[in-house]
Symmetry: C2
Subunit: 324 residues, 2 copies
């Protein structure tokens, strides 16, 4: 059997409660006792039993990750795994486990999340998408489960972390103007997504008089959609700077154009510098710092868990222009 707090206490000639206090580094315990107990813990390779600890504290020391319902995306879009990486870093540091809810379909996942919450398997949730009308999110609000959203939600009570997409638009415009471009063409994903429209607004915000702007939005959200756009894009005049406000569409387009004469740079917003196409995409890009998005989401959630009555936070992560 595994060694328990009692075994340690006996060997160290103290009470179990003292050992417990040493574990939590309680300032009431003398340094001498702490040192002695710690030595015994090391000797015996003692590890606290998480279940016992959680039972007392009524905590799970775990958080749940909720992914969007169109979950095919999850398997293709590097965004989710990259954000998860950031979440994981902070979670491990704080002793939290991460539980994924990746069942097929929204119904199954909703059921799973309910189970995680009601059985106290998780203390809080992180949503990898922003949709105020989502049933799982509504459930979390109703049950008062602490949660953090990655994305923007128009509601002052909700904690969220997002890219500063408006700024991300401004930066692109500024850079391209500095590079001497006079014509911009925006190729955009579906305008139902706020990051798409915010990026466009940011670009428009920095347009100077002599810039000519054309926009082609709502062309879809898959690689295939981008791929199919090639013929249209090829018509653009050579002086145009092409800004693709959705990474996956950009990848499809890059795929379509990589073997042809690449007449203009394709500027896009990237989840990570280590994307699958980095070896053929020699264009500058905007790094969305998605790992940092995950980090800040988890930091926010942890803060909520430690401080019940925290005021809701809405944070924006800066993006950065990357020269290639």
């Amino acid at each position: 059997m595994a060694v328990t707090i009692k075994d340690v206490a006996k060997r160290a000639n103290v009470a179990p409660s003292t050992v417990s206090r040493v574990i939590s580094d309680n300032p009431a315990i003398s340094d001498a006792t702490k040192e002695k107990v710690r030595q015994v813990m090391d000797e015996m390779n003692y590890r606290p039993n998480v279940n016992a600890r959680n039972l007392v504290s009524q905590k799970a020391n775990a958080i749940g990750i909720v992914i969007p319902s169109e979950n095919e995306d999850f398997y293709e879009n590097p965004f989710f795994l990259t954000a998860l990486r950031g979440i994981n870093d902070v979670a491990v540091e704080g002793g939290y486990s991460i539980l994924l809810s990746i069942g097929d379909g929204i119904e199954e996942r909703f059921k799973h999340v309910k189970q995680l919450v009601f059985e106290k398997r998780v203390d809080g949730l992180i949503f990898l998408y922003a949709d105020e009308e989502d049933p799982i999110m509504k459930f979390a609000r109703k049950e008062k489960v602490p949660f953090t959203v990655i994305g923007s939600i128009d509601h002052p009570d909700i904690n969220y972390v997002d890219n500063n997409n408006f700024q991300a638009g401004q930066i692109v415009a500024d850079q391209l103007i500095e590079m001497g471009y006079k014509k911009f063409h925006i190729l955009g994903g579906n305008t139902e997504f706020r990051h798409i429209t915010d990026r466009e607004l940011g670009i428009r915000d920095r347009l100077v008089n002599d810039i000519e702007l054309t926009v082609d939005n709502d062309i879809g959200f898959t690689m295939e959609d981008g791929y199919r756009t090639y013929d249209k894009i090829a018509q653009l005049d050579k002086e145009t700077a092409l800004i693709v406000t959705d990474e996956t569409i950009a990848d499809g387009l890059i795929l379509a154009s990589c073997q042809k004469i690449n007449t203009f740079p394709i500027i896009t917003y990237r989840t990570t510098g280590q994307h699958a196409f980095s070896f053929i995409d020699n264009n500058c890009y905007i790094d969305l710092n998605t790992v940092e998005l995950g980090v800040q989401a988890m930091e926010n959630l942890e803060k909520q868990l430690l401080n019940q009555k925290m005021a809701p936070e809405q944070k924006f992560v800066d993006v950065s222009w990357v020269e290639v």
Copy 2:
């Protein structure tokens, strides 16, 4: 506060132990009592507290997933997430949570896995790679943690689930012969991986006299490696059937050739039919049924957890030829 087993017992006019027995569907309890108690549980929306239950049973009702140390792969290779999907399906069914160990670098992950095991956060592990010399796997054997490997390991004590890669080679050869090809060219990943060599052996096993075979192995494992192979491949004569024994390499090659005249089919082994390039890859392929690999791995692990003294199992999942 949440409703406990005592609350249910009081309202149902029975003892807590009776409620507990109803939860586990103990046959000693009368149907009448069961029905009454279940009704009260529903009314009160009772959910058992997992921590309390785990504390008694000395179980975590959770399993840990270990990913390979070159973890950049994890973020690009659809294999891992697809296998996870299969694992998840079985895990949810059996009431197990899934904990990921995705920290950066082997050291950090090793530390994390140790913590998961020693703190009893997991009951068992699934390795998404097969390497007998891996320190984490050695640790699991030493500590007698139940685990299942996805991949093949030459050791009779280890439970694993793998594709039948030899058969996967045979099937490709058979199909291409039936299609009338007389020349095969194998473009292979690194031969340190057994699935690569087994697939080749399977192909060789079914070669008939008049087939001419050429092989080009160890060209790497990234998309870029496949992409770079294009010029060499373009030299092949038009009658050749090209078999790529690694999916990622195949994708790089498809990417390189998609805009050119695609003179011969590129046959490869695919993790899933819904891969990123499915819209430009019109070739037949071998479906490795990776979801099923995950399903069987989790089924095996669950069996180990329920039956301590189970004889080790080595299972092989069949692959299937997919016509496009």
